[in-house]
């Protein structure tokens, strides 16, 4: 009987199924990582709608490039890499647009500060190994043991990285808080 991919199947199985002519298996990859990828992009872009569009583009490209994926166990960092390239391309286009139109529109529509872009930005700026763990644990909604399985690292390493990430985030958030206060004083 046909094989079946479930939510608990490894990324490896999903990738194998996609390559075997079952593109619907890619759904599980998307469902597994979309929140983590979108939040990372929201941190880079400070714009959730654009983050979603970019993530969608990255997933579509990833699908097309699936054959080139060497290590399915590191699919999330691979996805982040693709998303980074999409961002770079978009930034190039945006610069051109800005030169032409001055982009008044987007300045006028700067979104209200409801989303926690400060936090997302600091997460996006973490070193790759720490960032990955934070994104999967919180935005991807995985438990520590699930993160450890997915990344193929011991659970102790997961908590160590989380611990370093917390320290890093607290420092960088405190710094930007000071910076803001300083500038307020200067004004």
């Amino acid at each position: 009987m046909g094989c079946q991919v479930t939510h608990t199947d490894s990324d490896n199985d999903c990738v194998a199924m996609c390559l075997n002519g079952h593109p619907e298996a890619f759904r599980h990859i998307v469902a597994r990582y979309d929140a983590a990828l979108v939040s990372y992009l929201a941190g880079r872009l400070r714009d959730r709608d654009r983050a979603e569009e970019t993530a969608e583009e990255a997933f579509a490209r990833a699908f097309m490039a699936l054959r080139g994926l060497r290590k399915p166990e590191s699919i999330f960092s691979w996805l982040v890499g693709i998303a980074d390239r999409v961002l770079k391309e978009e930034a190039r286009h945006a610069r051109r647009r800005f030169e032409l139109t001055e982009d008044f529109e987007s300045k006028a529509q700067a979104a209200p500060a409801v989303p926690d872009y400060d936090l997302e930005q600091k997460v996006a700026a973490l070193p790759m190994t720490l960032r990955e763990v934070v994104l999967l644990r919180f935005y991807g909604g995985l438990s520590c043991s699930e993160v450890s399985q997915r990344l193929g690292i011991p659970i102790g390493t997961v908590t160590k990285r989380l611990s370093r990430a917390y320290e890093n985030l607290r420092e960088s958030l405190a710094e930007s808080g000071h910076a803001r206060r300083d500038s307020e004083v200067l004004r």
Partner: protein, 432 residues
């Protein structure tokens, strides 16, 4: 426990994954050490902030959008159909024994057999346990078109079609996907950004008979063989594994077909049909796979962008009542009322006459233009494209530019009955 150790354990402690003793040691240290307690509180606050922010990203799945893109655009992965005659099934010793046992039971129905263990009845029997099928249909002898499609089918406990999804890459409307369930078909046209629901109770029957149902196909073979209409040659496929049935029709139509049956499951994996029509041979290849692989529930819905035109012919009143009018009269009337509505900027009415497109969308399409009068509506003619039905009619409408300059908008409209749900009402379905 000292502060350094506490710090090392803190992340695991907050995750609740430390064992009892270790957790107790951390919590005792936190009670005793104000500095570590402050740090723990600060880390907790950060975790809370992360969790709160993360919640905003949940429940907004990209899966449907991405799948829509990749499944309607992907062409470069090998499809099963490409492997049509390279069947790779393996007959295990145990399965062979089972097959032989079945063969004894059904020995009476066997005629010419190269594989004496198999009879068509077994396949009919085997399909009783099938709930899910994925199939792909291709016509290599024809140019690419909507006859090349993939289908996912769910069958209920009584063997009746429960629902199906059909995806076609190349159609006149661009890539198209259809989900049929409970007598309604919802059609998603990604390129046109239109999602339309139509009542189509007979669709299930028609599609089962014509396309997907391998069980019906095998039952037909069985009847035809008993009636002496066909000859079935049973042999092994080129790979030496699958059961190959070569069917020839005695009546001299020139038609023939090949069925491949998986020896273990007795289910059909491939059908290739050859028919001669108007002197040309048409080849149809259907491959069946993923038997009983449950289909993702998301496959039965469409999550579409918010700017899509959504039309539901089963609930919305569409078009104009024909009454005692002839086909020609109703055509002219629909066209006239449509342009009058555009002139009066009555976008709701224009939308109702144009397949039920929402007023907002009509305004988006036509709101910037100013129409001043109908110059002419031509004489309706029957729709020339077969199977579409209805009529086509030409029109000329006067339009004023922003500078007041007059111009003429010429074109033609295709008009026909709304469909099974509102058969006496006629609507514009294309041509603008």
């Amino acid at each position: 426990m000292n502060c350094r150790q506490c710090k090392d354990q803190l992340a695991a402690y907050l995750e609740g994954i430390l064992d009892e003793n270790a957790a107790l040691a951390v919590s005792r240290h936190l009670e005793a050490c104000a500095a570590c307690a402050a740090e723990a509180e600060s880390v907790s606050a950060l975790r809370g902030r992360l969790a709160k922010d993360a919640a905003a990203f949940r429940g907004r799945s990209l899966a449907e959008n991405v799948l829509q893109r990749v499944s309607l655009n992907q062409t470069h992965f090998p499809r099963r159909t490409n492997m049509l005659w390279k069947y790779k099934g393996r007959l295990t010793a145990a399965a062979a024994l089972v097959a032989v046992a079945f063969g004894l039971v059904f020995l009476t129905v066997l005629t010419k057999t190269a594989t004496p263990a198999y009879g068509l009845d077994q396949t009919v029997q085997a399909y009783k346990g099938v709930r899910y099928i994925h199939l792909e249909e291709q016509y290599p002898s024809l140019p690419p078109g909507d006859q090349n499609r993939q289908m996912w089918v769910e069958i209920d406990e009584n063997g009746q079609l429960k629902r199906m999804r059909i995806e076609m890459l190349v159609t006149d409307d661009g890539p198209k996907a259809v989900v049929w369930e409970k007598g309604k078909a919802t059609v998603w046209m990604a390129a046109k950004k239109v999602l339309v629901t139509v009542g189509s109770p007979e669709m299930a029957d028609a599609w089962c008979k014509t396309f997907f149902d391998p069980k019906l196909a095998v039952e037909q073979l069985l009847r035809d063989e008993r009636d002496g209409k066909i000859e079935i040659d049973r042999s092994k496929a080129d790979d030496g594994q699958a059961i190959k049935l070569t069917v020839t029709y005695k009546e001299g139509s020139g038609a023939w077909a090949v069925y491949l049956v998986e020896p273990e499951t007795k289910l059909v994996t491939d059908i290739e049909k050859h028919v001669v029509r108007d002197g040309a041979e048409i080849v149809a290849k259907i491959s069946y796979s993923d038997y009983n692989k449950p289909i993702d529930p998301l496959m039965w819905t469409f999550v579409v962008p918010s700017d899509v035109v959504v039309i539901d012919e089963t609930t919305q009143v569409i078009g104009l009542e024909k009454g005692a009018m002839t086909d020609e009269e109703i055509t002219v009337e629909v066209a006239r009322q449509f342009f009058e509505a555009l002139i009066a900027r009555d976008y709701a009415k224009a939308g109702q006459l144009l397949s039920g497109v929402p007023a907002k969308k009509i305004e988006e399409w036509f709101g910037k233009r100013t129409f001043t009068r109908i110059i002419a509506i031509g004489k309706p003619a029957p729709q020339p494209i077969p199977l579409v039905g209805g009529t086509v009619v030409s029109f000329e409408v006067e339009e004023a530019g922003s500078d007041g300059a007059k111009s003429v908008w010429k074109g033609s409209l295709a008009i026909r009955p709304v469909g099974k749900d509102q058969p006496t009402r006629w609507t514009i379905h294309g041509g603008i």
